[in-house]
């Protein structure tokens, strides 16, 4: 009702906001890299390059031009596309062109398109697992509050938060793939190539990423359910003989909905680019791994491109969360 009155307006406002946010992010990344010490041309060319070669690379990468000119080229490429000469041939980079990697001369847009499915496969799958696991644990500990079950679950989730992903991941790999030989050691398979193998190979990465995240969802679900359970309307339903199962599952859980959506939006967005440890551990060629590499070698176009993609997903996840909020709670008006 009221929540959808301005849905079109909401999308429009959010769209404009997203573009402005991404614009600001790109400017910041450019400036940060500009002021960062270190000779980009030297790093790009390699340690054994002569000063003349380094100078040539600097010219080729337009490193000798002022910052605003380089940024302008970047925006131009994004909007209209760009042609790059790679010594012998001219390569056309269609809009939205994020430039060429300093390191590999590969188009950043293409690079992202090959990395993104890996990251999304990992994070979306893990999200399903962490939601089921986290919310389930939270509901269980809210229901059995004050009893042994809750104390055990609290300890387990605390341990889950405290254990780094590579420890859990390693243990899982050693036990499941090494000792029990239930699964082969994971390697990434494209969803489009073989969906079954895709899922089997991602199972362990999903689990290890989700176990860490699930802990915070469990605690959030538990605490917001306990908060709801202390509210007056719960007393009303108790006073009308509504059973504990309905009170927990129908009324208290509903109160945990909004905070869980908000946390999920955050964690999803940041995991797209931030699941570096998991990606590295399981050899998944995703965004996070690529980003770390690009930062190390000061590959500005790749860094900017990746950061923008991550930023886009964070903003998108939050916008989806806002819509879900309004659907879940009719008192919320989208604005």
């Amino acid at each position: 009702m009221s929540g959808f009155g301005g849905f079109g307006g909401f999308v429009l406002r959010r769209g404009i906001g997203t573009i402005l946010t991404l614009f600001a992010i790109s400017v910041i990344v450019y400036v940060v890299f500009y002021v960062t010490p270190g000779d980009v041309a030297q790093i790009t060319c390699g340690p054994r390059c002569s000063p003349a070669q380094v100078h040539q690379v600097a010219q080729q990468l337009r490193l000798d031009e002022p910052l605003y000119v380089r940024y302008w080229h970047f925006v131009e490429g994004l909007v209209a596309g760009q042609d790059y000469s790679t010594g012998t041939s001219v390569e056309h980079c269609p809009a939205p062109c994020l430039g060429l990697s300093y390191q590999s001369d590969q188009q950043v847009t293409r690079l992202i398109l090959t990395k993104l499915p890996v990251s999304l496969s990992l994070v979306l799958g893990a999200m399903v697992v962490w939601l089921i696991l986290g919310v389930g644990t939270g509901v269980l500990s809210a229901w059995r509050r004050g009893r042994l079950t809750e104390r055990v679950l609290t300890a387990v989730t605390l341990a889950g938060t405290a254990t780094p992903v590579f420890v859990i991941g390693l243990i899982l790999m050693i036990v499941v793939c090494g000792e029990l030989e239930l699964l082969p050691f994971p390697q990434y398979v494209n969803l489009t190539d073989d969906p079954e193998q895709w899922a089997w190979n991602l199972l362990l990465p999903w689990l290890s990423l989700a176990l860490i995240e699930a802990a915070s969802f469990a605690r959030l679900t538990r605490s917001s359910m306990l908060e709801t359970l202390a509210e007056d309307h719960i007393r009303t339903f108790r006073a009308y003989g509504v059973g504990e199962r309905s009170i927990i599952g129908r009324h208290a859980l509903r109160g945990a909905f909004a905070p869980v959506i908000a946390l999920n939006a955050n964690n999803f967005g940041s995991a797209v680019g931030g699941a570096v440890l998991t990606e590295t551990l399981f050899g998944l060629p995703g965004i996070g791994q690529e980003l770390v590499h690009a930062v190390n070698v000061v590959d500005l176009p790749v860094v900017v491109g990746m950061v923008l993609v991550i930023g886009f997903f964070v903003v998108l996840a939050n916008a989806v969360a806002d819509v879900l909020y309004a659907v879940a709670d009719r008192r919320v008006v989208l604005a």
Binding site: D232, T236, F237, A239, G241, H251, G255, R330
Partner: protein, 554 residues
């Protein structure tokens, strides 16, 4: 057999004994009012009737039988059948007592299905039926609304509908009208009365408001500190209370029909006789105007959503007089009060202080807030908070000034009936009766000429209320203060005010000397308000109810 049989009930929360050896009976179809001040244990009794203390850690002793169920001995299953099925409870705050996420019809249907094995569709139909019964217009459509889409009165009706769904033998109403405006309160009480006539169910009404009890029940039971003080037919107890506490309680109740006692005694203190000082200034208000509002208007929101909370209000406040501003919730009285103090900029119009246009906060016009404690910083001692206005006036506080400030704050604390030792206490350490005093001391620190009191006594018990009203009167007389007393309670306003302004939807509908407005109201809205005030005399209450019913039929 009695509908309710409570024998020697005790309820203990840890070391606190909330109910102490209470016994009473309620016959089928009878109505009993549990009356007492806050902390008297009346709500605890109501919860005990449904066994709501089970599993909360409270120790319940004695025996409770409700509609044939031994609440203490019953199994969880038996207790669930009793709750809502044979005895249903209506709670105080209808907004927080309903689940904000579900449609009202669904919530009623859910409760109905707990007690009857019927289909969802049948349960929904029943929900619509009971919503219709309690007077919700267009019940089919409104049953799909969520609680926040209902007004306060409609929410309370919806809660009553939920109680009616399973046709219980007993309705337990815990302060069912406390959160409501007086006109809405009258409608809800009339509804409860009509439902009892129709269904023959028994009623246990828990209330702090003697007037509400007088309107609704046959018998009253007065409680204090968890014990029974007096129990008898409502006419007898109210007309000729046997116990001193009952007399004191009744004496403190402000009466809307009584003229303000000039020079001595606050409302009913002639009966109670506990207060030596009255609220009344000995000196007649002078003609000098200290505060004046001209054409004040305040809008909130922009564009299509803009609405005027205050719309063209002009008022004058004279030195040493009390102007009462009375109105229901949403009438704009608080917005007006804030503009008078300068906390809100008017959209149009002006506030003049001693003839000069004043804008922004003016130290000589102070405010006392409804809950003074939540309007103080919880992390600073009360003394420090009171000292703030003093510090604001002295630049670069030195050691010498520090001692003077402390001395002045101590003086203020003692002036409002607190002690010097309270300087270092924190807001939460003050009792309900002390809290408004803290707020008054803070307001006095700035040496004001005018104090705007926004609902200063609405959260207080009647006896405390009378004391605070007396204190305000005393201060007014001593310091020649002008008071603007903003409140929803018509009786209290009459007891403190020289002149009264009645507000409705942002406008002043009637203004004049208090006795004139109350005794011969010109505006129909004022008349409606006055007719809705619960009468302390059950006979008068019955007559008024009949009168209220007349226009509804016509």
């Amino acid at each position: 057999m009695s509908l309710v049989e409570v024998t020697d009930l005790t309820v203990e929360f840890g070391a606190l004994r909330a109910v102490d050896g209470l016994s009473f009976r309620l016959a089928e179809g009878a109505a009993l009012g549990l009356v007492g001040e806050s902390g008297s244990g009346k709500s605890t009794v109501a919860s005990a009737l449904l066994g709501l203390h089970r599993g909360t850690g409270a120790a319940v002793g004695g025996s409770v039988r409700v509609a044939g169920t031994d609440v203490q001995a019953a199994s969880d299953e038996e207790l669930r059948r009793l709750r809502g099925g044979r005895a249903a409870m209506v709670f105080q705050d209808p907004l927080s007592s309903l689940d904000p996420y579900y449609a009202i019809g669904d919530q009623i249907a859910e409760v109905y299905r707990v007690h009857t094995r019927v289909s969802r569709r049948t349960a929904r139909a029943r929900a619509v039926q009971v919503l219709d019964r309690v007077g919700i217009p267009d019940p089919v459509r409104r049953s799909r609304s969520r609680p926040h889409e209902f007004s306060g009165g409609m929410r309370q009706r919806a809660l009553i509908a939920m109680a009616l769904a399973c046709e219980p033998d007993l309705l337990i109403a815990d302060e069912p009208t406390t959160a409501l405006d007086v006109t809405v309160q009258a409608q809800i009480l009339d509804l409860l009365h009509a439902l009892r006539e129709d269904t023959g169910m028994g009623l246990l009404l828990v209330t702090h408001d003697v007037g509400v009890a007088a309107e609704s029940v046959d018998e009253v039971l007065v409680m204090r500190h968890g014990r029974l003080v007096e129990h008898g037919p409502v006419e007898a107890v109210l007309a000729a209370p046997a116990q001193p506490y009952t007399r004191e309680l009744l004496g403190a109740v402000p009466r809307v029909e009584a003229r303000r006692a000039v020079g001595h005694g606050s409302p009913g203190q002639d009966a109670g006789g506990s207060q030596p000082d009255g609220p009344r200034p000995a000196a007649e208000p002078s003609g000098e105007v200290v505060l004046e509002a001209r054409g004040l208007r305040r809008e909130f929101g922009r564009g299509k959503r803009a609405f005027a909370a205050v719309d063209g209000v002009s008022l004058t406040v004279h030195r040493g007089e009390t102007l009462g501003v009375v109105g229901e919730s949403g009438s704009g009285k608080t917005t007006l009060g804030r503009m008078l103090v300068g906390l809100l900029e008017p959209t149009a119009g002006e506030v003049r202080y001693e003839g000069r246009v004043s804008s922004g906060v003016n130290p000589t016009v102070q405010m006392v807030f409804q809950d003074p404690v939540s309007s103080l910083n919880p992390r600073r001692s009360v003394g420090e908070s009171i000292a703030d206005p003093l510090r604001a006036r002295v630049r670069g506080v030195r050691g010498k000034d520090e001692a003077r400030i402390r001395g002045r704050v101590t003086e203020l604390l003692e002036r409002v009936g607190l002690e010097a030792a309270h300087y270092d206490r924190y807001p939460h350490e003050f009792s309900g009766g002390q809290r408004p005093r803290v707020g008054i001391a803070r307001a006095l620190a700035a040496d004001p000429r005018v104090i705007v009191c926004d609902e200063p006594v609405s959260a207080l018990d009647v006896t405390t209320q009378a004391q605070v009203v007396a204190l305000l009167g005393e201060l007014q007389r001593e310091l020649g203060l002008a008071l603007v007393f903003v409140a929803h309670d018509l009786a209290v306003v009459r007891q403190v005010s020289d002149r009264v302004a009645v507000m409705r939807r942002g406008r002043v509908v009637e203004e004049g000397p208090a006795d004139e407005v109350y005794e011969s109201p010109r505006d129909p809205y004022t008349r409606q308000l006055l007719a809705a005030v619960p009468a302390l005399d059950p006979a008068v209450a019955a007559r008024r109810r009949a009168e209220r019913r007349q226009p509804a039929l016509a």
